[in-house]
Amino acid sequence: MKDFPYTESKDTRSGFGAGLHELGKTNPNVVALCADLIGSLKMDAFKKDFPERFFQVGIAEANMMGVAAGLTIGGKIPFTGTFANFSTGRVYDQIRQSIAYSDKNVKICASHAGLTLGEDGATHQILEDLGLMKMLPGMTVINPCDYNQTKAATIAIADHHGPVYLRFGRPVVPNFTPADQTFEIGKAVLLNEGTDVSIFATGHLVWKAILAGHLLAEQGISAEIINIHTIKPLDEAAVLASARKTRCVVTAEEHQRHGGLGDSIAQLLARQEPLPLEMVAVNDSFGESGTPDQLMQKYGLTEMDVVRAANDVLKRKK
């Protein structure tokens, strides 16, 4: 099992803020909109240096999505910023009609996704957003794993024509991916080669999967760990190649089991390569108040849960 050294832990939302600021300098068509959460989304630097391209929309997310769609008419590339809950469920029909169906080049950037938002509780902890967004035809759905990857993804999506949902979060997590990485939309990243079980993880669960890989190695189990930063389009070739090699699969995500990454991979395997699969995900439940670590533990999203899932799926492997 490979080591993934890192020098600091950072929040993924700050990676977004840094990427957006970089885009401000390099791409004059990039504009940003925020619904009264500039500090939370780390959009301060963009606002300060490019005030004419920054639009404070206030607590009016539906309007924000429509304004963003309108800004594309004339060639702008709008990045909207608010919490994941208010970026998706609250404005689903606006995204569906004015952005996705209309094929507008809007980048929906969503922070505080999942349980790790913490103490604010279930009203703000959306665990359905990946499913909502991946169901929309033409929508690209991205959930990077750390600061560097979120920054790289933010910069990359500006060059991709079409609607994108970019999901990130609040807590600090190890920043272990290379600062100079090239982010390829739809291209899975093989982190650790293994032979016994494939672990496909996304977002904050990527680091948990790495921790689980070390624990599994101590048990003599060789885990292949793959970072699926793009939920849609799914890198089907990479998933199938790994699954065909190890013959059993674990998926891990900070999301509902219904509609998430595991669901996408299960569908792919059922169609092309039926193999035993276990999902580390929230099981049809809302979250609640608590610290991020307490919540990840209570709802079964820790490295130990990944280890357990690997052991379970290995028993079913033929």
């Binding site: 009016a60 429509g66 963003a68 008419i73 060639g75 029909d93 004015s98």
Partner: protein, 287 residues
């Protein structure tokens, strides 16, 4: 070249009559669609596309840089939108016969999805067009493009909350290259708006939000054209402009007028003939 038309009112009336013929024939052909609001807004769309707006029908570009833009927020009145776009030269008039049929670019509600020239956003789910128009108008400002953005909404549509988010946004951001129009026909699917939505005093509401408000009869060119001129003159003055336009649903066909019952109902064969007899054009060129 973008067109600015020096057309007489008599010419506009002829175009409007032809458009109304298209509308009733289109909805009759597929026994579905929304004739009432379409007939009521015909004069506005004819005035915009054949007189007021500078636009480029023969080489449509989605970005519309250097052109006036029009957004239809109440997308269900697609028949009038399609007819006016076709008659203005965006696509062949013959294509109106495909309205609401399988594999058509003329979907039940307007969409960019099938690449129909003249349409820049999908609409149909109500309440979204004013926000889109705000964004498009802001893009024009960023681009140094001094043309204007027009948007039409239904009055029943104003019951949607998003409209009021945008109504607050536009004056706050001084989007003064935006001219909104409310089709105040007083009707919605379940009956009169006064009984259903409680729209109240729209002039006072929009004025309180910071808009330049004007009112006009939307079915008489003699009042509609000066009102549009006034709206254009009022733009660029630091405030968005909104025109509360009184229309009659079904205008031009006596048995369709003044009732919500023709909101989403097509005429039968006999009713179509009766309607066409009332919509006379000197040189009718039905598709």
């Amino acid at each position: 070249m973008p067109q600015t038309a020096d057309r007489s009112t008599a010419e506009l009336q002829q175009i409007a009559a032809q458009v109304r013929r298209d509308i009733v024939r289109m909805v009759h052909a597929v026994n579905s669609g929304h004739p009432g609001g379409s007939l009521g807004c015909t004069d506005l769309l004819v005035a915009l596309y054949f007189k007021v707006m500078q636009h480029n029908p023969t080489s449509f570009s989605l970005d519309g840089v250097g052109e006036d833009l029009f957004f239809l927020s109440n997308g269900h009145i697609s028949p009038v939108f399609y007819s006016v776009l076709a008659r203005a030269g965006y696509f062949p008039v013959s294509e109106l016969s495909t309205f609401r049929k399988l594999d058509s670019r003329l979907q039940g509600h307007p969409t960019t999805h099938e690449g129909l020239p003249g349409v820049r956003i999908a609409s149909g789910s109500l309440g979204q067009g004013l926000s889109v128009a705000c964004g498009a108008a802001q893009a024009k400002k960023l681009n140094g493009d001094d043309r204007r953005v027009f948007v039409l909404m239904g009055d029943g549509e104003l019951e949607e909350g998003q409209i009021w988010e945008a109504a607050m946004y536009a004056p706050h951001h001084k989007i003064d290259n935006l001219i909104a129009v409310v089709d105040r026909n007083g009707q919605q699917i379940d009956g009169p708006t006064a009984e259903i939505g409680g729209l109240g005093d729209l002039r006072a509401k929009f004025e309180a939000f910071g808009w330049h408000v004007l009112e006009a009869d939307g079915n008489q060119f003699s009042t509609l054209l000066p009102a549009l001129e006034e709206a254009v003159a009022a733009s660029g003055q630091g405030r968005p402009v909104i025109m509360l336009m009184d229309t009659q649903m079904g205008y031009g066909v006596d048995f369709m007028m003044g009732s919500h019952k023709w909101h989403g109902v097509a005429p039968n064969d006999e009713q179509l003939q009766k309607a066409l007899q009332q919509l006379l054009v000197e040189n009718a060129s039905d598709y």
